[in-house]
Symmetry: C2
Subunit: 284 residues, 2 copies
């Protein structure tokens, strides 16, 4: 494969993630081409089109769209792509995408990607060149994925300030069920609980704790609907595990076993402090 | 009662909330006296003591301590307080505190308070003069609470940039169970779930969504243990209501009823956007 600086990169789907990737890659690649029916991200790219076949001369094609769109587009992207082109994606669930990548024509290369960054805002207007700075960027191999493709992806990830992390798709999907998709559903359930009360007092008293715990409920529903249904089995297991934790807290509270309850609160506090330290060390 | 600017204010408990209140009141009152066994917040006050009886000449006494400490101290504070002094507090659960305030000697005044601000850091080192800016500050009357006491508290709340909100203690406690104490337990359960996996991949992939949804799990356990056990009945009801929401999402996901699931995600998203707008209008 060519070096990153000599590469023509095409990004399909130019919302928050795709447009931010383009901004982060500016000046580091030969050419940036965007494809989206909505042209609002065009200023982030050297060239822009609404037509999928305009990807024909790209060296690297990044699918930055909701999962069902990635799955729908993959066969056409494979058909339009030049021989030797590398096809990758930014989807939050990897097993179904890796499976679909195995069906691409042999003349193209493929590897799955998932950057652990983003925000609850969507669309090109929210794009930031620094979105990928310090971000763990999961790479999931297909059977067909070559070492050169993985090495190229690492160079791209380092160029935008991220840290590559190689994971099997199933391991990735199980972990993100617990640390990404579960927190989203907790936020949703919290909002639904508060909204069900239909009591203005709730909204008057809700403060920064509620704001942060409910933040993910503002996420784009098209994207997150795909994510939760795309990772159904792993997320159902995570929900069952999480409910067991909630039920244990509820049982201790109801039984007035306050010393065991406080011990659980302390275990959670220490786990979070340990994670914050781990995270700082990784970023340093 | 004296006007705020002519008042000697004593704050008992000089951690995050008490020390921040002192910083916010500097230059707006005649004298600020702090009481705490730990003298680290002394620079925030005109005078400071570890001795409770040093409150004897205060016009206003603010209890800014964990709930069980407030309940333990109230009788002694009532005994030491000057005739006509106003006793108030910053505790997160109001019914037990208001009940205890009814037992204070008739020569003192009393009103319950609860500012809806704070952060997951504790202690005087985290104190900020702006902590109360824009904060909804609940006021809960006891039977004995006079109109002049309420008017004084309003002037104090406005002086630190807050917005008073008059609520019955039971109404307050039910609302905060849902929008404050429940989010804390969700965060705790999320951390316990992630920690139970004991899988470094989880920590590597955990990102800003996990960080925000788990933030409250870092809260001080002494304070929050008192809060959740002090608001037991309302919090158990909130947990039951919340579990029903989680179980509904889980049922829809398991049944592959994806259109109903997406509708629920959209309801939550719209409720949060509506709350954000409501909040902006209130602050404007």
């Amino acid at each position: 494969m060519k070096a990153l600086s000599d590469t023509h990169i095409c990004i399909i789907g130019t919302g928050l993630m795709g447009a931010s990737l383009a901004l982060a890659l500016r000046g580091k690649v030969r050419h940036l081409h965007g494809i989206d029916p909505d042209p609002s991200a065009a200023p982030c790219f050297d060239t822009f089109s609404s037509q999928l076949h305009s990807l024909y001369n790209a060296d690297v094609i990044v699918l930055a769209a909701p999962i069902h769109v990635i799955l729908d587009l993959l066969p056409q992207v494979g058909a339009f792509a030049a021989a030797g082109a590398l096809i990758t994606d930014l989807g939050s669930v990897k097993a179904p995408i890796i499976a679909a990548m195995e069906g691409l024509p042999p003349r193209v290369q493929a590897v799955g990607g998932h950057p652990m960054c983003g925000k609850e805002l969507s669309g090109a207007a929210a794009a930031e060149a620094t979105l990928y700075q310090g971000c763990t960027f999961a790479l999931c191999k297909a059977e067909r994925t070559s070492q050169t493709a993985l090495a190229f992806m690492e160079s791209l990830i380092y160029a935008v300030g991220g840290q590559p992390l190689h994971l099997a798709a199933a391991v990735h999907d199980q972990a993100v069920a617990h640390i990404s998709h579960l927190p989203y559903l907790l936020s949703v359930a919290l909002m639904l609980d508060a909204a069900a009360a239909a009591d203005e007092t709730f909204w008057q008293l809700a403060s920064s704790g509620f704001r942060d715990t409910s933040r993910l409920a503002s996420s784009d529903v098209t994207m997150m609907g795909d994510v939760v249904t795309g990772n159904r089995a792993a997320l159902l297991q995570a929900l069952a595990d999480y409910r067991a934790q909630i039920e244990r807290l509820q049982t201790l509270l109801a039984a007035e076993d306050d010393s065991a309850l406080r011990a659980a609160l302390e275990t959670a506090r220490q786990a979070r402090q340990a994670w914050l330290l781990y995270r700082e060390r990784r970023k340093a």
